[in-house]
């Protein structure tokens, strides 16, 4: 599926930047005695290959992307952020409540984001929370 030539070159630029970051970070790694390469060798080789691949993508950008990629709109981005907030919520509340309750809350948030029927979401979240609590807190004593 054809796509904008500038947009399709963005991944190449991202990978070039990642390669540059890796190379810059690996410059300070120590060498082996007698000047042989040490822990920096592998990251440097990877950075070089990634830079080459990035240039390849910029030079000949692939026109094949996920067909549904074109359909991502503001609503979709909001829902993705909602899904991420479910994971963040788990991190925030897990220290204070049981793992099952925290997972149930994640399920509830994601269900609301997905606009499922609220009654069904509540039942599913409670069931998932209880199952996770029984398995992880009860059986495995996490």
């Amino acid at each position: 599926m054809p796509c904008n030539s500038i947009v399709s070159r963005i991944p190449g630029v991202v990978f070039l930047t990642l390669a540059a970051f890796t190379w810059l970070s690996a410059r300070n790694f120590p060498s082996l005695p007698e000047g042989y390469p040490g822990p920096g060798l592998f990251p440097n080789v990877l950075a070089f290959l990634l830079a080459l691949a990035g240039i390849g993508l910029i030079w000949r950008p692939s026109v094949e992307v996920d067909t549904s990629a074109q359909r991502l709109h503001r609503k979709g981005i909001t829902r993705i952020l909602g899904g991420l907030s479910g994971a963040i919520l788990f991190l925030l509340i897990n220290p204070w409540i049981s793992i099952g309750a925290a997972a149930g809350m994640t399920c509830l948030v994601c269900g609301i984001v997905m606009r499922a029927r609220i009654k069904a979401v509540l039942i599913t979240s409670t069931a998932a929370g209880i199952a996770i609590h029984l398995l992880f807190s009860g059986l495995l004593a996490l």
Binding site: P30, L46, C110
Partner: protein, 492 residues
Amino acid sequence: MTLVSWEGFLALIAGALYGALFGAVPGLTATLAVALFIPIAFFLDAAIALPAIIAISSVAIYAGDVGSAIARIPGTPASAAYADELHNLSRSRGALYGLGISALGSSVGGILGTLVLAGGALALATLAAMFSSFEYFWIAVLGLTAGVFASGRHLLKGFISLLIGLLLSTVGIDPTLGYPRFHFGNPAFLGGLDYIAVMIGLFGFSEVLYHMGAGTKSAPAAHASIHRRALNNFYAAPLKLIRKARKLVVRSSLLGIFVGFLPGAGADIGAWVACSLEKISAKRQKNEERVVLAGVSSNNAAVASAWIPALSLGLPGDTVTAMVLGVFMMKGVTPGPLLFQEQMPLIWMLFGAFLIANILLLPTVGLLTARIARTALRLPFSLLLPVIAATCVTGAYAINNNPLDVGVMALMGVVALMLRRGGFPLAQVVLGMVLGPILEQHFMVSAIKSNWSPLSFFERPVALILMGACVATVILGIAAHKRRLTGSDEGN
């Protein structure tokens, strides 16, 4: 002669159910299942503890595919090689059919692995002992090469995914000097990124975010009409496929056995090479069933063959057999060549346990897990996705009881979402992460011990054979890639 006592048989059944539970839940692994069982094994007789461990590991490896079928979350790095195909198959033709192929393919692979374990353990262990860092380096290169050519139409994108995985593997202490790399001042990163958390994020959480972004309409339709004929879908149809593709099953199982007995990541490389060979040699564009069959038979054949160096040399083939060696020590049994002369009843009991686990337990427990997966797939997508999200965060947290793993999992979910939208394959990232440390460690060890002589990598006969296999994979892969491109151009 009794192969397995009735107590051992009960232990096999209990172990299979326990292994199925651990394999099917993301974040819980066969290794964790065996690790939690070890304190119990301490109080049990070897004739009960060892069959239970065999059943746990055999069934947990298969049950790892349940996550792939429902939510595209592979249970092991090896199953990442065919996770996409299994998920698509379970969606299009039903979970019973997809997991039927997985269970029965695993069963056949496991039986072949057991037969080789029974017949040639000592000979194969001697071969494994001939492998030095040079051969391990080349076998890691072979796995990576196969991974690139398994990536479909865009080799460059597959290569980039692999490089990202290799880069992720450099986080933490380096294997040569013990120097900390890319830890960003956080001591929690010194041990490296946990690949299970990365896998859950890459496959499971990214699936949640992907469908959230596209809305519920993007939900792939689960197969409905096939539900009525459970036994046919789980047993008859996959068996027919296995009979039709018997050469593929035998070839993949042998590959799993012969690469799987190498200590380290043998099993993962075996499954990847088997899937890659099938993708390269495929005449048709759609060969999902055959790719899954190749992967699962290789995967489970390697479960048995990982016991070869453990039993005959006392060297662990993987983490599970490392714990098995601990059980041997607890019970006063010394593994090694003498084990085959002095403890033959124990050896026969192990073979019997492997055969029962593969012939009887995998197909029966497999049907049970497949029915549960089928029920899960029947849930409306707007409810299934939140449950998958909850399972992902819990699974990532449960690995080390560490909130950082949940953060890594979420970050990987976002990275995977972007990669997926750009058409980059995800499984290659996992392959790079798993093989990266092996590749780097064996390259550095080989280079240092040969005083950085490049020729030393080509001097040993087995290393040369493996290098030849890498070259052959590249040539065959390029030819297949050209054929694929020509075919799709003609199709267009």
